[in-house]
Amino acid sequence: MDASEPLLKVEGLSKKFPGVLALSSVDLEAGAGEVHGITGENGAGKSTLIKTLTGAFAPDSGTIRFDGKVYDALTPRKAMQIGIACIYQELNLIPHLTVAENIFLGREIYKNRTLGLLDRKAMNARAGEVLSGLGLAIRPDAKTGSLGVGHQQMVEICRAVCANAKLIIMDEPTSSLSEKEAEDLFRIIAEVKARGVTVLFISHRLDEVKMNCDRVTVMRDGQTVAHFAMADSSVDEIIRLMVGRNIQNKYPKVKAPLGDVLLSVEGLGRKGVLKDISFELRAGEVLGFAGLVGAGRTEMARTIVGADPMDHGVIRVAGKEVTIREPLDSINAGIAFLTENRKEQGLILIQSVAFNSTMVKMNKYARFGYLSPKRIDDVAEATSRELRLKTTGMDMMVGKLSGGNQQKVVIAKWLLSKARIFIFDEPTRGIDVGAKVEVYKLINNLVAEGAGVIIICSEMDEVMGMSDRILVMHEGQITAELKQEDATQEKIMFAASGVGFTS
């Protein structure tokens, strides 16, 4: 291979699915030992591009040049053979097997091949070498399932390194990692890079892309719109290229006038999960709940809306005490709960937009018990129009919508429930930049009209940018209360870790 030729060169790659042009003449170049970022909104074509590289499917046209050879199409087997590895968000490890076993899965070292006897000692030794070579304190004989998510991801990387991968593709690698684990990951990436391995780093988190990548490719609507060295650009520029327009003011927070107390929670507790949660939410207020994963914020929300039982506590809505034993009670009290995983808990994927939008208190659309399908469609359509939902029609299957549009259906559902208190649990998870802004604007509108909004968020920026007041939770308790103007990342982090601070 010519020394000046890049390891990976994708030229003119196109892929069409029925009705959708997923990739349109995509170009990409990455050299050996380069960390190359790929960014783009949801639906930009990143996943499709990766799938052509890993051989999940063949492109309609274009070529992939890898390691000096040219390919029209790859198969998963071929991709592995030539040295392309991919680490997905959902890890491909077998929890019951040890680290070494997972690393050598499919490429085991045998003591006696014909009898099929494995040479565990050799596998453990080799695995240990790779692990310590990357500076990881993971034992090769540890059971993979017992490791944290971050470490499991490291094992996957080791697997790729052991298989002599020349190109490691990482798809949203930090989405389920804590900050510390993410730091470890970046260190490994640097280590791997020093060994001449090329990394394709696909991420929504632009600050990470800026920090780790040498060069970046921005995709939009199935095309590559720009390639440049990271040093020559900025995050703002990348965002602009991703959406094709200037996203002014990432968090368009508009302060609304505060009204009466809408929701008052006193002494809410559930054994082992929540302890003495008390707070108030006023009309016009956005109350943010920050904290680490597992702090108990979702559990708190679920208890308030009656999805889970409470051991003790008093909940008052607009001054009146309400008994909430099941979700319908909270809905009747005017509370809306937008869950953190919309596909599992917020939507019926096989049903239509109209059905999903009108699911809450469906009987209110009925006249003398008769539910007119046209009325349902009209109601759903009006709200969809308001939210600028992109769909082929009210009868479109919700499962086929993009993440952002699915979220809009969930929002439509709760808007139609005429709630006055909205609890958003990770409202912008898994949706692209453009749709995120729309959600923020929606929250602004809600509070402007006198609703109270609780927003549970793990992205510090978001919770600081959108909330009037922030409550931080740690291990089921509220550990801090901060006004928006006083809040800093450090203070939140301290409180979220259970360490006190002087404000």
Partner: protein, 335 residues
């Protein structure tokens, strides 16, 4: 259908993206054509098939299964199943028999006892699931299947009861002109169930519970109430079917309804309902019922061994579902 900010997707994509609750209509065409094809084949193979007499025979024989299938459709729609319908049919009709013949209940009251018993047993099925939290209705209804059958056999020490007053026999025995009452009953029931499922909130709730139980619960739907209702209706329809049967044969007997659940499940599945719940249409279920009834009737006319009938039903189930799987694959891979 109006479009909101249509993304410019061509119509065939729009069709493929439609909710299966909407594309059920397309499936119906396939099953309907199969039914018509089967009728054609049968009429060619046997000259007696296409006579008014025989067709009415098919209709009245299918009636019992059709009514049982209504309840089965509902339970499968909620991603559950009711294995006890045959036994509930037996126990509720036996109870009616005892009430009428031994305790001297009048006909109206006896009928009420039958239907009430069916609904009650169905309700117990529901409670076993929702209050006892048995992991799957397969378990609760399997238990009920055995228990109800046992009680039915015990009541009269396995002896049948017969010679019922005309009123009780009405549904199964009489005709309005040339059309059997049972046929009309089935038509009315299916229309009512269709309206219930598509035009009432409760009906939509049943689809919601089947589609995603947790999402339905969090949206304020009383999931337990819906499940209890579904199994109660299933028990009720089993008892109603038993009433039609009792009228036809002028007797109730403890082994009535034996294995009826199998035909009902077959009909519902051939009709395109999904075992995973949330997908299915009551209109397709009746086509499934008729398909099986025509098959049985045709094979009878041709003097085919009843063993082969059983085999044939099994084969039809597999073929019907395999064809559907193939159809989905073709749709997905895109033309």
């Amino acid at each position: 259908m109006s479009k909101i900010d249509a993304v410019g997707l061509p119509m065939d994509t729009a069709k493929k993206a439609k909710s299966p609750a909407v594309t059920g209509q397309l499936y119906r065409l396939g099953v309907l054509l199969s039914l018509l094809l089967l009728c054609c084949v049968m009429s060619v193979l046997s000259s007696r098939f296409l006579t008014m007499d025989n067709l009415m025979n098919v209709a009245s024989q299918a009636a019992v299964s059709a009514i049982v299938s209504i309840g089965m459709f509902l339970s499968i729609l909620t991603a559950g199943i009711d294995l006890s319908v045959g036994s509930i049919l037996a126990l509720s009709t036996m109870t009616m028999g005892v009430a009428s013949a031994r305790w001297g209940f009048g006909p109206t009251l006896s009928i009420a006892v039958c239907l009430g018993a069916g609904a009650g047993l169905g309700f117990v099925n529901g409670i076993l699931l929702t209050k006892l939290h048995l992991p799957h209705p397969f378990i609760s209804t399997l238990g009920m299947q055995k228990m109800a059958r046992g009680i039915a056999l015990f009541i009269t020490a396995a002896a049948p009861i017969s010679m019922f007053p005309d009123e009780i026999q009405f549904l199964g025995n009489n005709s309005v002109g040339t059309i059997p009452v049972s046929f009309l009953l089935v038509a009315v029931l299916y229309v009512l169930m269709y309206l219930f499922l598509t035009r009432t909130a409760t009906g939509r709730h049943i689809y919601a519970v089947g589609g995603n139980k947790e999402a339905a619960r969090l949206s304020g739907i009383k999931v337990n109430g819906i499940l209890n209702l579904v199994y109660t209706i299933s028990g009720f329809t089993a008892a109603l079917a038993g009433l039609v049967l009792a009228g036809r044969v002028n007797a109730v007997y403890p082994l009535a309804g034996l294995d009826y659940e199998t035909d009902a499940i077959a009909a519902v599945i051939i009709g395109g309902a999904s075992f995973f719940g949330g997908v299915g249409s009551i209109g397709n279920t009746i086509i499934g019922v008729l398909l099986i009834a025509v098959l049985r009737n045709g094979l009878n006319l041709l003097n085919v061994d009843s063993a082969f009938q059983t085999f044939a039903i099994g084969a039809v189930i597999i073929v019907a579902v395999a064809v559907d799987v193939l159809r989905q694959k073709i749709l997905k891979s895109g033309r």
